[in-house]
C-alpha cells in the first residue's frame, strides 16, 4: 500500500482532486481508501464512500490541536488502510494551521493550493507548501494564462524541488500527470520512527486544556507575550 498525505487550505480542492486521482487509479485496477482529518466536522469521508464506493473514515480533533491530533493518529490510520487491502491510502487533512505541515519524511506529500488566493499566497503558506513533493494548483480554469504562470513561478520560488501540476478540480483535466507521478511513490513501510518534515509547536498552555477566558489570571503554562514596551517593564 502507498500512503500519501494531502494538505491545503479549506476549499482549495483537495477532495475534488483526490476524487479524480482515485478514479484514474481505479481504471488501472488500483484500489484506494481515504482518511479525512478535520477539526469539528466533515462530510468528506461520506463523499468518498458515496461517490466512489471506497472505504473512508474521518478523524476529528475536536478540542485538541489538529496538528498534534493528526500526527498522533497517523499510524492508526495507516493500519486501518492496510486492513482495507487497498493499493493507495490518501490522508486528506484540513484544519491544520499554516504554522505546521502534516508531511512526513519518506511519505509522498501533496499540497493543494488554488489560483485565487493572490500572488502572495505561496509565500504565506509556510512549511506545508515549502516541504511538499508535489504542489497541485487548482482553479486555473477561471484565471488568465498569465496569472497561472506567475502563480506557478511564485510557488517554484518557495519550493524549488516540487513538481508543480495544474489540475482542474471540476473536470479532472491534469490529473493524469498526478497518476503518472503516483507510479514513482514508494510503498509505505512501518511509520514508527519516521519524522515529520517540520516540527510542531509546543502547545501546552491553559487554553490547550479548554480555558476560554481572556486575561493574564487565566493563563498558565507556555505563555509568551508580544514584545511591547508596557510588557517589558
Amino acid at each position: 500500500m502507498k500512503l500519501v498525505t494531502i494538505a491545503g487550505a479549506p476549499s482549495a480542492g483537495k477532495t475534488a482532486v483526490t476524487l479524480h486521482l482515485i478514479r484514474q487509479l481505479d481504471k488501472d485496477g488500483k484500489r484506494s481508501a481515504a482518511v479525512k482529518f478535520d477539526t469539528l466536522g466533515t462530510t468528506d469521508d461520506q463523499i468518498y464512500r458515496e461517490r466512489l464506493g471506497i472505504p473512508a473514515i474521518q478523524g476529528l480533533s475536536d478540542y485538541l490541536c489538529p496538528d498534534h491530533y493528526f500526527v498522533s493518529n497517523l499510524e492508526e490510520a495507516c493500519a486501518w488502510g492496510k486492513k482495507q487491502e487497498v493499493d493507495f491510502l490518501f490522508v486528506e487533512t484540513a484544519g491544520l494551521c499554516y504554522r505546521c505541515a502534516p508531511h512526513v519524511k519518506g511519505v509522498p506529500a501533496i499540497t493543494i493550493i488554488d489560483n485565487l488566493g493572490g500572488m502572495e499566497a505561496p509565500r504565506k503558506m509556510g512549511p506545508a507548501l515549502i516541504l511538499a513533493d508535489v504542489v497541485v494548483v487548482t482553479k486555473s480554469d477561471i484565471v488568465s494564462q498569465a496569472e497561472k504562470e506567475v502563480f506557478a513561478h511564485r510557488i517554484s520560488q518557495v519550493n524549488k524541488t516540487a513538481r508543480i501540476v495544474h489540475v482542474n478540480g471540476l473536470t479532472g483535466t491534469g490529473v493524469l500527470h498526478l497518476r503518472r507521478i503516483s507510479e514513482t511513490w514508494p510503498e509505505a513501510n512501518a511509520l514508527e520512527g519516521l519524522s515529520l518534515r517540520y516540527s510542531m509547536p509546543a502547545s501546552i498552555c491553559s487554553y490547550c486544556t479548554g480555558e476560554t477566558r481572556i486575561g493574564k489570571r487565566f493563563q498558565s503554562g507556555n505563555v509568551e507575550k508580544l514584545l511591547l514596551e508596557e510588557n517589558a517593564a
Binding site: Q24, K27, N115, L116, G118, M119, S140, D141, I142, V143, S144, Q145, A146, E147, E149, V150, A152, H153, R154, R163, I164, V165, H166, T171, T173, G174, L176, H177, R179, R180, I181
Partner: protein, 251 residues
C-alpha cells in the same frame, strides 16, 4: 523545447468504436478549428492535448510531440483561453505585464509598448497601462490575454475554447497567435472563425470524424461572410454607442 510537430493519434468514440480520422499532424503556425454540435467532444479533445494524453484518457487518444509521447509533465507547453477565464489579480495593466515578464525572466519595460499596441488592435475600446485589470470589459480583458499569450507566454501551443462572443476582433486574434508561430487549436461554433483556420476537424459522438481543408470556393465564401460579419459588428457598435444606423451606407 522546440516543437516541430504535434500529432493527435486516434482513440475511440463514446461507444468505444475506433475514430474515423486516424491522425492529425500540426506544425507551428498551423491553426485548427474543432467543429461539431454540443456534446460532440471538442472540449474533451482540448483536454487530451492539454494533458498530453498517452492512451490514458477517456478517449484513448495519444498526443505525440515531435513524434514521441510526452512522459514527463509537459509544463509550459500549452496556454489556454476560455469563456470562463478572468483576471483575479488586483493590479494595473502595467503592473500585470511587468509581473508576468519578471516571472519569465524578461524585460517587461521593453515589451510594454508592443503588448499595448497589440491589445488595442484586438478590441474596440482602447486599453491604457494605468487601467486596473478589474475595470476592463470582457472584450478588453480577452484582448489583453491574447496579446499576452502571443508576446509573453512562451508556450508553443494555444488552446481556445469558445471565445467568439467576447467582443474582440476574432480573426485578428487568430492571425496574431498563429503569426507568432504557435499551434492554435480552437473549439468554435462561429462560421467565419471556422473558415479562417486552414483546417477543421469535425467532431461527432466523441470522435474525430473528418479533417477538412478550406476549399477555394469556401475561401471566397468566407470573404463574403466576413464582410457580413463586419457589417453586423459595425451596426452593433453604432447601436451600442447610442448612434442611429441612418448614417450607415446600405450594402
Amino acid at each position: 523545447m522546440i516543437i516541430e510537430t504535434v500529432t493527435i493519434l486516434a482513440g475511440h468514440d463514446k461507444q468505444g468504436n475506433p475514430e474515423p480520422s486516424e491522425r492529425v499532424d500540426l506544425r507551428p503556425g498551423d491553426s485548427l478549428a474543432l467543429v461539431g454540435p454540443t456534446g460532440s467532444g471538442k472540449s474533451e479533445l482540448l483536454s487530451d492535448i492539454e494533458q498530453a494524453a498517452c492512451g490514458d484518457t477517456r478517449s484513448g487518444r495519444t498526443i505525440l510531440i515531435n513524434g514521441e509521447p510526452l512522459t514527463k509533465a509537459p509544463s509550459g507547453m500549452v496556454a489556454t483561453l476560455s469563456q470562463k477565464t478572468n483576471f483575479v489579480m488586483d493590479a494595473s495593466v502595467e503592473q500585470f505585464i511587468l509581473l508576468h515578464a519578471e516571472s519569465k525572466g524578461r524585460d517587461g519595460g521593453s515589451l510594454m509598448a508592443p503588448l499595448m499596441k497589440m491589445t488595442n488592435s484586438l478590441c474596440g475600446e482602447s486599453v491604457s497601462q494605468e487601467m486596473s485589470l478589474q475595470v476592463l470589459s470582457g472584450g478588453q480583458s480577452r484582448a489583453l490575454m491574447i496579446a499576452d499569450i502571443a508576446l509573453l507566454s512562451d508556450t508553443p501551443i494555444v488552446l481556445i475554447d469558445e471565445v467568439e462572443n467576447a467582443g474582440i476582433h476574432k480573426f485578428k486574434a487568430l492571425e496574431v497567435l498563429a503569426g507568432h508561430n504557435k499551434i492554435v487549436i480552437s473549439a468554435t461554433h462561429d462560421p467565419v472563425l471556422i473558415l479562417m483556420n486552414n483546417t477543421r476537424l469535425v467532431m461527432r459522438n466523441g470522435a474525430m470524424t473528418a479533417l477538412l481543408y478550406a476549399t477555394k470556393n469556401e475561401r471566397r465564401h468566407a470573404e463574403n461572410l466576413k464582410h457580413m460579419d463586419d457589417i453586423l459588428m459595425r451596426a452593433r457598435e453604432d447601436l451600442r454607442m447610442g448612434r442611429t444606423l441612418e448614417m450607415q451606407e446600405e450594402t
